[in-house]
Symmetry: C2
Amino acid sequence: MDTKSLISSDSQRPNVPYIHKVGVPPKQNLLKEFKSTVKETFFSDDPLRPFKDQPKSRKIVLGLQAVFPILEWGRSYNLRKFRGDLIAGLTIASLCIPQDIGYSKLANLPPQYGLYSSFVPPLIYAFMGSSRDIAIGPVAVVSLLLGTLLRKEYDPDTEPNEYLRLVFTATFFAGITQATLGVLRLGFLIDFLSHAAVVGFMAGAAITIALQQLKGFLGIKHFTKETDIISVMKSVFGSIHHGWNWQTIVIGASFLTFLLVAKYIGKKNKKLFWVPAIAPLISVVLSTFFVYVTHANHDGVAIVGRIEKRINPPSLDKIYFSGENLLKGFKIGVVAGMIALTEAVAIGRTFASMKDYQVDGNKEMVALGTMNVIGSMTSCYVATGSFSRSAVNYMAGCQTAVSNIVMSFVVFLTVKFLTPLFEYTPNAILSSIIISAVIGLIDYDAAILIWKIDKLDFVACMGAFLGVVFKSVETGLLIAVAISFAKILLQVTRPRTAILGKIPMTSVYRNIGQYPEATKVPGVLIVRIDSAIYFSNSNYTKERILRWLTEEEDNLKETYQPKIEFLIVEMSPVTDIDTSGIHAFEELYRSLQKRDIQLVLANPGQCVLDKLYASGFPDLIGENKIFLTVADAVHTCSLKIVHEV
Amino acid sequence: MDTKSLISSDSQRPNVPYIHKVGVPPKQNLLKEFKSTVKETFFSDDPLRPFKDQPKSRKIVLGLQAVFPILEWGRSYNLRKFRGDLIAGLTIASLCIPQDIGYSKLANLPPQYGLYSSFVPPLIYAFMGSSRDIAIGPVAVVSLLLGTLLRKEYDPDTEPNEYLRLVFTATFFAGITQATLGVLRLGFLIDFLSHAAVVGFMAGAAITIALQQLKGFLGIKHFTKETDIISVMKSVFGSIHHGWNWQTIVIGASFLTFLLVAKYIGKKNKKLFWVPAIAPLISVVLSTFFVYVTHANHDGVAIVGRIEKRINPPSLDKIYFSGENLLKGFKIGVVAGMIALTEAVAIGRTFASMKDYQVDGNKEMVALGTMNVIGSMTSCYVATGSFSRSAVNYMAGCQTAVSNIVMSFVVFLTVKFLTPLFEYTPNAILSSIIISAVIGLIDYDAAILIWKIDKLDFVACMGAFLGVVFKSVETGLLIAVAISFAKILLQVTRPRTAILGKIPMTSVYRNIGQYPEATKVPGVLIVRIDSAIYFSNSNYTKERILRWLTEEEDNLKETYQPKIEFLIVEMSPVTDIDTSGIHAFEELYRSLQKRDIQLVLANPGQCVLDKLYASGFPDLIGENKIFLTVADAVHTCSLKIVHEV
């Protein structure tokens, strides 16, 4: 079979243009075929390439470098790079400290846990991660997600101990999930959350988080535990007469204005990026001083209160390794881990493409997973890459992951020595900081672009958005995943087909819908199938082709034109076919036979040709019915039609 | 935008071959686009086509004919057709009566319920169905599935009343599921069970059913309630010394031999199809007479016993319409309904393609659903199309669904008058009949063909098979569905890419893997992407292209050839693109810029071009970088390379 050549009989005639045979390549053996599929699926980045043809000692070094990229880039590290990293590190540290305290509240945790999570995880990431720009720490969306999911299991106010233990359990399994995906090279799974769905989900989460901040911002004491917009609005307006605290509102509003102005300045003038970056810390310092001096806390202005002054206590013994809580923690961990991963990988890829270096998705997952596993044993909750802080890190001129080490060190000093200073920080300031931070997650431009490009994508985007805002974070997530999957299924169930015509003055055949000047060939119908033919679409494809034929025949009958004698199926876009697909083709062939029409194939690909031969289909329709190009096929068919006339 | 034309600047020069512009068709408006998507997805068969431009009265007639196809074909019915239908109907009736009694046992029901289900449903199908060859009634696989699923809820021996009520509830919801899928035009959902998975599942079910028959065949009294091969074998060999009944075995074995010989004769000589068709009835008559005369039932030969002599009693009041049992019945009904549908639609399509008529999948589902809903109210359990009886029906020369009416009438007479005759029928005969019937469900040839064509399909097939045989029917089904989905996901995650070269003496560019004689163009790398570019594969695609480039550059460096200046992406197979895909292209463009390589696109389709323009991508890379064919693109690029030199 491997030497079968399909020279059409016409190619021997002298007056006929050269017709090239369709290539039937030597068949790959089973093992080779299997290996190449596995390689493209799981090792598409060819991770072992540098290891090839190297001595053993070098292989060990390369292996260590693969796990700890710091060993690779660390060797070319120098003082110039360190200056960039130091400035960037200090900037993101000043940004992360107030954010961390705020995000802990979203996760229903005491403030120190946010700071803990900005100490250990960034340190580990710096040794294992491959992104140079990402800033690691707790983030708003994951904090909110954890907070809502965990609250369903334990009440953080009445059962703080069980709640905390479940936090560490979830963090542990989030890390395990991430690392496992990386080790098993299943990183591509997160690609199933489409860009559009992520845009919608993030925007929805941002609105939800901002709404949650109304509690601190307005000084409301009794606030709903639901996160949907309707419950929150009821709660806000229900307490308008006896729940709002005007002093809190004044402090919050004035500093929010300050933060938004700073943000605006930073946006207008890229050189002033440090203005919005240090504005939060300035707000904290000023407002804390103000409250401390005026004793506003006695007038109902809620303050952070005493934060424990100690570095991360070990928490391995708090993780549930058995019982029902193990399962609960596992479930929440998997969800939080996946979302955290999506965010981190998206950030990593964005900045990598800006500076043109490669981020290895699978390696990245192992790094993030390891940092969360270790984090769960040192009183941290799920950390990941933060959009806002990574952007600041990039603009502040970070060179390597050393900026994360600098940040981590500053946070360590803060936790060790400075926490008492935050005692009088008003909660309203933290709310303002979070509101001004999450506003950046709402990406109008992306949403508008999605609307312009693909309406179905926009539906996915809005579905995720509305799901989060009006119901809950999980609902939004579920909608996003469901629509993403539905889109894939739609794609594989209803492939496009097109009628081709000849473009004038060329031998090129193209879709007559796209090129109205293309002309049909009398007696021949040319159909292109725009997809692999699988069980999910084989019946549709067959019936669609027959419908094209029926419509065309009806037209021809009305205009008294010659009937169709050949159906040419252009197979270039048909990248693969399976048993159901071949069945469909056999049925198509039989139906055409009944109508006295011949089936001709043009340009089947290697893989399709292999399978057609394995099934004996070419023997059924005749081997001389398979051509390299549509032009060749049309030429041969036309000759036959002319001969008959 | 709608008049934008991309004439490459080179096309103006006199000495350059004519380069046709890439067609940017007028943009469809949103509503039109949406309508066409909905139409192709749900109404791809254009069901309203005959209604177009018809007077109102004619529309009513057409509408009635659409629901009751008998009104259409009935008008051209004649005596010649009736002769065919009468013979076919009598033949399938003789086959179905013993099968029905046996299948009832598989569903843990008294024998009359199988007969009931061969009376009402075929009658209704004859009026509403569009297949001419299908034979309706209870089938082995669905009976087994119902039996195993329902037994988990109620014990048919100790709680026969609850069990029976749940049977009708499940049947009701099976019908509702089928009709709903048809009405909502979601018929394509059953295409997601791939052919390979169905082959494996059916073979596994056949083996499981045959194993279950060992109980009746060997005369074992205490038999396991599990269906997996290991439990059954333990049960069979555990009772070898005190459970087997030799008289039963003698009767069973001799008649099984008779049936298999008859089957063989029918296979060898197609004209003798009636031999295997009436063999079961002959076996029943002979063995019943034998047992009645010899009183073998006193020697431990189990017999059917008294069957109630009455036509279907109404059972609407037995269906659970509330409470926990509603939910149980609903779940089981959905599963059984889907499986029944898969079988019926597969049969309908097979015979339709043999006789070249169309079976409307959605209409078919409504017919099957209605018949099961009405069946559930008249003491029937889930009926569908039977493989074995439909084949006999076809070979006996059935012309229309009237053969089902004939069969139904014969069954009616049997139920009304003849049931006492079956009192002494030995169970062993029923087991033999079932064994000889289900053997036909094991399709070795299909399995071998699947192995030859597609290894992954074979895995799905074997997974479903082994799942059914070694675990349970549901497990096998779950495996089949899971592997089918995994295959789709794999397809959309890892699209193929290929490097193209010029085929000598043509201007055709093809995969150099498939056509080793194709030559690369110096300074140009041509890559073809073989799939729509979606969020699920956009990152992979981008990285794969960059990897091709890196590999090629490494090769060129080693052989001191000129470096690559142009990357041509052949977009013909790229049928669609979404926001993530366009992002990936933008990132690709930026990466290429860093390497001083120009990005060129060849032959983007209509839909892709629309979206590229909506996103402003052509402005980014330059509009003169988009060509109609690879040949045009190569020509222009080569000219530029020559000019530079």
